[in-house]
């Protein structure tokens, strides 16, 4: 690995670290600035080296850090390989663009990072299969194997730097597509490489010829892919069936709750006593038919409003009832004077209980009213029941 390659690798790594580190507040701004500077420096070195190759000139950057006395005999001393320079130019650009997202939710950095990933993968495969032309271009120096490995990992790092966005959003999701991708992508990437290497080693050892080796490689590839795809399909089918059953059960539960709700509404409406439910802010939610008959206000008139009370002591009494309910206490037989729609004072006895919904706590209250006015519109049911 040439000194410039090592320096640019450190710059790219630092840039990625700055983007993905836990810096916050003022340091976040500094980290972003540093990440861009490091990445742009790598882009500059990569482009300058490519320009040197294309223009057959020497800008003096190759041995800026250290004098190359090793000389591999392939290129100018200290100059990184052309594919390495291209990788730095493209990877640096991807690093600069990491936070950018298009209106369509695409992340350019992810797409760009695939270019150095494929170039470095070709170089790695070149070393694995002894195909020199995959990592060395013409007579120039080649990309070192550890440089290619570092590029491949760095490209993957940039690709997965914001895993919940862009192309990686599906891969990192729990959706059926995400599960399928996580099963198939590693297989599609690794199986051909490993099987191809095994085939080549077998052929080198003289176990079989090209035609037999090729046929065997294709057969093994097909067998592995069919097995993995079938297994993935079966797994997806199992998950989809479980989700469907869960949805059906949920729908049945919802229907049951709805039926229960209608039943309660009917019971409340049929009840001969006035039943009122109040929301959190003491506003009327339910106002049954008996309440309508007793006070003359229809549900549509009173909905979302406060209970109509006669001015005077009833105000304080109703306040103390609401206070008790908010505190979680029930109220038994407290008398208050309400106001009917035709401005009559109607004395009622109140029985009430708070509605407490799980962690939300106090959510409202249910009030049962009995008309105890001398000219009560209804007979005193409670006294009748007790007698």
């Amino acid at each position: 690995m040439k000194p410039n390659t090592a320096a640019c690798l450190a710059l790219c790594g630092s840039s990625l670290w700055c983007w993905c580190g836990d810096a916050s507040g003022k340091f976040r701004g500094h980290a972003t600035f540093a990440a861009k500077c490091f990445a742009l420096l790598a882009v500059f070195v990569g482009l300058a080296t490519l320009a040197e190759y294309m223009s057959h000139s020497n800008f003096g950057i190759d041995q800026l850090l250290f004098v190359d006395r090793l000389g591999d005999g392939h290129s100018l001393p200290g100059r990184m390989a052309p594919n390495t320079a291209l990788c730095f130019a493209v990877l640096g650009l991807a690093l600069v663009l990491i936070p950018k997202e298009t209106k369509g939710g695409h992340r350019p950095a992810q797409l760009i990072s695939l270019i150095p990933a494929f170039i470095s993968l070709m170089a790695i495969l070149g070393y694995l299969y002894s195909a020199i032309s995959l990592y060395r271009i013409e007579s120039f120096t080649g990309m070192a194997v550890h440089t290619a490995t570092a590029f491949f990992l760095l490209s993957l790092g940039v690709f997965f730097s914001v895993p919940e966005r862009g192309l990686t959003a599906v891969i990192s999701s729990n959706s059926l597509g995400g599960i399928l991708l996580r099963r198939l992508l590693p297989t599609a990437s690794l199986v051909p490489i490993v099987v191809g290497w095994l085939r080549m080693e077998g052929q080198k050892a003289g176990w079989y010829g090209t035609e037999f080796g090729l046929a065997m490689m294709v057969t093994v590839d097909v067998a592995i892919f069919v097995a993995v795809i079938y297994q993935s399909g079966a797994e997806i089918d199992r998950i989809a069936t479980a989700r469907h059953e869960s949805e059906l059960a949920m729908r049945t539960d919802q229907d049951g709750l709805l039926a229960m709700n209608y039943t309660f509404e009917s019971v409340i409406d049929a009840c001969p006593f006035s039943i009122i439910t109040l929301a959190r802010q003491a506003r009327v939610q339910v106002w049954n038919r008996a309440a309508e008959k007793m006070l003359g206000w229809s549900w549509l008139q009173i909905r979302g409003r406060a209970i109509p009370i006669e001015r005077g002591n009833s105000n304080a009494e109703l306040g103390s009832i609401l206070e008790s309910l908010t505190g979680g206490d029930s109220v038994d037989g407290v008398q208050i004077v309400l106001l009917s729609s035709d401005d009559r004072a109607v004395t009622v006895t109140v029985w009430a209980a708070p509605i407490v919904v799980g962690s939300r706590g106090f959510s409202g209250a249910v009030l049962v009213l009995q008309n105890v006015s001398p000219a009560g519109q209804f007979p005193n049911y409670i006294e009748k029941v007790h007698s």
């Binding site: 690995m1 000194p3 390659t5 090592a6 320096a7 640019c8 690798l9 450190a10 710059l11 790219c12 790594g13 630092s14 840039s15 990625l16 670290w17 993905c20 580190g21 850090l65 250290f66 550890h146 570092a150 990992l153 760095l154 993957l156 790092g157 940039v158 997965f160 730097s161 895993p163 919940e164 990686t168 959003a169 990192s172 999701s173 729990n174 959706s175 995400g178 996580r182």
Partner: protein, 39 residues
């Protein structure tokens, strides 16, 4: 994407992978530079 669909463990793992790769690259680069400095 909703939290229900997100695979938090995988996302956290991928972020750690990215951080690890960055540290590895810096280490490799600096190691090679030190090697060159030592001749």
């Amino acid at each position: 994407m909703t939290d229900l669909v997100r695979n938090s463990a995988l996302i956290s793992g991928l972020k750690k992978f990215t951080l690890g790769v960055s540290v590895l690259s810096v280490s490799l680069g600096l190691l090679v530079l030190v090697g060159w400095a030592l001749g």
